[in-house]
Symmetry: C2
């Protein structure tokens, strides 16, 4: 085992809500950071030992990560990092566009005036950050905005689904961590989503959110082309 990885696993003794959650977060990040490569085995005993916990929470963590698509357990053989290579950023963003589009539609139909006010405040906060070019925070708040839409959809199913997609999205973004800055473009599109939501126009809200994310995809693809062209 890589010494750096060992250090990483041991260092995560903080943030204890439950050992299970700690294990989920730590292992996920270890995979996402590239400490484990696709196809490589992850041994529950080893993880447990390095994290100074028992195998029980590690096993439970594996079940969650398996559902997120990050690992795959073959009974009595081992748990392995999934080949996420089979999932492209293109597929991820297409699915995100559809899912968040539907969330926007439901949110538009269900949100109360108070909810709408909060959403508006979020966008205003983001506008300021954009003007001041505080990119780091802006990326953070952007995620919050999207999460708000999902929450306001008030659908456990949509939320679960979004979580699944997000797990892949996060993994991908860290692996190829560019594009975050690019996303500062087209932030104005958020307001178009909001306007539809404000008027409780579900159909428009869905379309706006969907095309917003698909435009992000366009940017990513063009950027990819540019990199290859150089």
């Amino acid at each position: 085992m890589d010494a750096e990885l060992e250090q990483f696993l041991m260092s995560r003794t903080n943030n204890i809500q439950s050992l299970r959650q700690m294990a989920v977060d730590t292992i996920r990040e270890a995979i996402v950071m590239g400490y484990y490569k696709p196809g490589e085995p992850i041994r529950e005993r080893q993880i447990a030992e390095k994290m100074n916990i028992s195998t029980t929470p590690v096993k439970e963590a594996f079940r969650t990560l398996e559902y997120e698509g990050l690992v795959e357990t073959v009974p009595r053989k081992g748990t392995f990092v999934s080949n996420m290579a089979d999932t492209s950023i293109e597929e991820i963003l297409m699915l995100r566009a559809s899912v968040e589009g539907l969330c926007a539609r439901l949110a538009a139909e269900k949100m109360t005036p108070a909810d709408k006010q909060k959403l508006k405040q979020q966008l205003e906060r983001m506008d300021i950050l954009l003007q001041e070019q505080r990119v780091e925070e802006l990326v953070q708040e952007n995620t919050t905005f999207h999460r708000m839409i999902v929450t306001y959809a008030q659908s456990p199913m949509m939320e679960q689904t979004w979580n699944t997609v997000s797990a892949f999205d996060r993994a991908f973004r860290k692996l190829a961590l560019q594009q975050n800055k690019e996303q500062t473009e087209g932030f104005a599109e958020h307001w178009r989503v909001f306007e539809a939501v404000e008027q409780s126009d579900g159909e428009t809200a869905e379309l706006e959110m969907k095309s917003h994310i698909l435009r992000t995809l366009d940017h990513v693809m063009k950027q990819e082309q540019r990199r290859r062209g150089e």
Copy 2:
């Protein structure tokens, strides 16, 4: 605990790939069949005892079911059946339409001639069942068809996502188990999906699959109205 439920849990001693998987399937079905009602607690010790297994595989099963959105665990307080009431059949089918639509697109782009052949055979099998009005089997094979599309999309993420949506779909269908027969209508639409797939026309495949499922939704909604009108 209901005696009927007790019987149900005890009877599931067959089909042993792993106790964990058995627990997942059994508990899921128990919820879906309505033995457990939304909000009701599910105790891991009780389940383990009735199924004659230890709590370890039950705990792992809970993690999977939690990700599927069927249960919710509050640390040291209990595991409870989720309030799926907040999810309507309308939302389920809208999401399914989007997800399977995307799967159809990817499948169309990725499938080999051999794959296409298998898909065609599946549809032919269904045609025969339809002619002979063997509804029970037809419903089964219909599910297989949809699953094939997802599999041929060759995307772990799409598959995971579809699993999540399907968990909700199954739950709803059993709770209000009508509509299965209604689905024998519009089976011809499957062929339109196939034709697009055969020509590797992803865009059309997506649209056809999406509208196919949305038409199912229409049927369900109209049926709902009719029932209320009576």
